[in-house]
């Protein structure tokens, strides 16, 4: 975990580099470099420069986690979220809940939709957070596994419970105790994302789909089934189908699931592993049935009468997108007040009415019913107790497991 100290160039090498910089074309030939480094340890002197690079340990955070909190003086909070993941008014420019927050607290939310993909966003914030620098963000939304990783790496700040009274009271019981953040010390869910099986009635043409087994085994669906490229959702649903618990499975269970999926890939049953792009395939009928995210399904159902969903008897997976305060955030208290604001059932209802994912806030139903009766009765948006009981989550993985599993899953999906 210590800072890497680059090997120094030998004086002869340094002189050759300097010469090469001064004399343009004459100097930096392979031969002059070879000559220059002949006395050194390296055979090819130019490569000495390579040793200077190195990627410092990601967990290393210099100079503590918290910056001075400027919340009192600067009435702003910088909020990074996924695209189309908040309420908007008809003009498409304003976010009513954020305006309400500003009116009530005087805090302006600088809202940026700059997250499109967990992996890419991680790549974006990694250099700053690894170096212990500010990201310019006070609040960001990451999916479980990435939230777990940044907590593990020590890149996010512990939240102050005294600012989170509503959040503490109203957080739905199914999200209270994830094994990667027991008791929610660092994170609060923004939305829950149920993973279900979606199908196109017309494309199915009478074939019944009730479980992951149907997807994998029914020869009538050959080449018209898709799974998600998100490892935890595809593996989790198949684990459940095989009678295993995604919250405590073993390496052998994982391998068994991969083998089962591999068999389906080999015989051409699974057409593709997809991101969000399964939605157009499903409405067109190119895909007859697939593992899908509930938020998409609610939207697709509204747009196309042929699309519907089923929750397998073995249960379904729910992941969450979580609000986190990164290290060195300038406005931590403001960020916490915003989290707490969204845990008031009234505000959560506004949000739920717009974005179609599962709300993590208890007591939303009566408020949501006032805005949208259908949404309030939709178990994918407001999960009832029976629904919650069938929901499962994927256990957190150690870094070693994560690498090994992602590698196996990548093989399964072609690379």
């Amino acid at each position: 975990m210590e800072q890497y100290e680059p090997d120094r160039l030998t004086p002869v090498q340094a002189a050759a580099m300097r010469r090469s910089l001064r004399n343009g074309r004459a100097a930096m030939t392979r031969r002059s470099l070879l000559r220059a480094s002949a006395g050194g340890a390296l055979t090819v002197g130019g490569l000495g420069a390579l040793t200077g690079c190195g990627i410092p340990a990601a967990g290393k955070t210099q100079g503590g986690t918290s910056a001075q909190d400027h919340s009192a003086q600067e009435k702003v909070v910088n909020f990074s979220n996924w695209t189309e993941y908040i309420d908007v008014d008809d003009s498409g420019k304003h976010h009513p809940t954020l305006e309400t927050f500003r009116r009530r607290t005087g805090i302006t939310v600088k809202y940026t939709e700059d997250i499109n993909d967990n992996n890419e966003f991680f790549g974006k914030i990694k250099p700053q957070l690894a170096a212990g620098q500010a990201t310019g963000r006070d609040l960001m939304v990451l999916t479980d596994w990435l939230a777990a990783r940044v907590i593990r790496l020590g890149w996010v700040q512990k939240l102050d419970p005294s600012n989170l009274r509503h959040a503490y009271t109203n957080l739905s019981s199914q999200f209270r105790d994830p094994d990667w953040d027991p008791g929610r010390a660092y994170s609060y869910p923004w939305q829950g994302i149920p993973t279900v099986i979606a199908y196109n009635k017309k494309a199915l043409d009478g074939v019944e789909v009730r479980s992951v087994s149907d997807l994998l085994d029914n020869p009538k669906l050959k080449g018209r089934v898709s799974f998600l490229s998100e490892m935890r959702d595809s593996i989790g649903m198949t684990l459940l189908d095989m009678g295993k618990d995604p919250a405590k499975f073993t390496d052998d269970d994982f391998d068994a699931v991969v083998a089962r999926l591999q068999k389906a890939v080999d015989k051409g049953q699974i057409r593709r592993f997809t991101g969000n792009d399964y939605t157009s395939d499903l409405t067109k009928g190119d895909i007859a049935a697939c593992v899908a995210w509930a938020g998409d399904v609610v939207q697709l159902k509204a747009d196309s009468p042929d699309v519907d969903f089923v929750i397998p008897d073995s249960g379904y997976m729910t992941s969450t997108d979580n609000l986190l305060v990164p290290n060195k955030a300038r406005h931590k208290t403001n960020a916490e007040r915003l989290i707490d604001f969204y845990y008031e059932p009234e505000q959560a209802a506004e949000l739920a009415a717009y974005i179609n994912y599962a709300t993590p806030v208890d007591g939303v139903k009566p408020y949501l019913a006032k805005i949208d009766k259908d949404a309030a009765n939709n178990p994918l948006i407001v999960p009832d107790k029976a629904m919650q009981a069938r929901s499962h989550s994927f256990r957190s993985l150690s870094q070693k497991e994560e690498t090994a599993y992602e590698e196996k899953f990548a093989k399964l999906t072609g690379a």
Partner: protein, 309 residues
């Protein structure tokens, strides 16, 4: 083709003014080079050095990566992912050949026969670039949809039976098969083939065709002996501009392909973003670069043309 020649300045006046303009003049090329050089250093040389370094590091995200000169990464990556390498080269080559077959007649038409339509056709060739690469690729999902007219027509002509038999498609669909990926690549890189071809063809002196005709060459002979050889620079640079980006592309394989059509670009993306195995990702990039460089060198040597366009 200017025939003007500057007269040498009289010696007497040149003497006193000699020093400053000459001195500045000598440096001018370097000043002009500076922006380009800086660009190359910052956005090409430095990232390359960084990548090269990454490829010989070992470690993990949490413990950091250190340069350990672990060259075995290269060999391991090659052994593990050679099928994807081979596939990338095959798909890119197929797309390049298709681009040439489609692009040459069109470029010929624009250069010699289009007359006043020339500009319009050129605009039409470039027009797809006004929309995003992703949108253009996604459009192919609609074009090739299972229940769409294209697939229906191909099915009723029994073309898909044939392509299935040789492994380009599977069942009675085109999407999520190698054929779809090659179609996407061909479509997306076609303008890169047409433009250099057109530039090359357009420069050919029309009188050469007349001369060939006067010497009793048939039109086909004229094309074989005059037009095509003179357009070789365009053919070479067109194929390079198509083949190189196509070999590294991952979007088409991602959106139009399936598990058995993943190209090396997909592997690099997965290694870098999902598995976070930066050394392997960097090594794969270098192997791809080296392979392309080697193929391109051999190709240019054999094509027997010095200038590109």
């Amino acid at each position: 083709m200017s025939t003007l020649q500057e007269a040498p300045p009289p010696l007497a006046t040149a003497e006193p003014a000699k020093k400053s303009p000459r001195g500045r003049g000598r440096l001018t090329p370097y000043w002009l080079l500076l922006p380009g050089l800086l660009w190359l250093v910052v956005f090409f040389a430095l990232p390359m050095i960084y990548q090269a370094s990454t490829s010989v590091q070992t470690g993990s995200l949490e413990d950091g990566y250190k340069v350990t000169w672990h060259f075995a990464t290269y060999w391991d990556a090659l052994v593990e992912y050679w099928p994807q390498f081979l596939r990338s080269v095959l798909y890119a080559a197929a797309a390049t050949v298709l681009c040439l077959l489609l692009g040459y007649p069109l470029a010929y038409l624009i250069a010699f026969r289009a007359g006043r339509w020339r500009n319009l056709i050129m605009v039409l060739v470039i027009a797809p670039f006004f929309t995003s690469f992703l949108i253009r690729t996604l459009a192919w999902k609609t074009i090739l949809a299972d229940s769409g007219p294209v697939v229906h027509a191909l099915n009723s002509l029994h073309v898909l039976d044939l392509t299935s038999w040789i492994g380009w498609t599977s069942g009675d669909r085109v999407l999520a098969t190698p054929l779809a990926v090659v179609c996407g690549l061909t479509y997306n890189f076609l303008p890169f083939m047409i433009l250099p071809l057109y530039t090359s063809l357009e420069r050919i002196d029309g009188r050469l065709h007349e001369a060939a005709g006067d010497l009793y060459a048939k039109p086909s002979t004229t094309f074989r002996k005059v037009t095509f050889p003179l357009s070789m620079p365009g053919v070479v640079s067109g194929t390079l501009l198509t083949f190189i980006p196509a070999a590294g592309d991952y979007v088409n394989a991602e959106l139009l392909g399936s598990t058995d059509t993943r190209m090396i670009g997909n592997v690099i993306q997965t290694q870098f973003l999902r598995i976070l195995d930066y050394p392997t990702a960097a090594a794969l990039s270098f192997i791809l670069m080296a392979a392309i460089l080697l193929m391109v060198t051999v190709y240019i040597r054999r094509s027997g043309t010095e200038d590109l366009v």
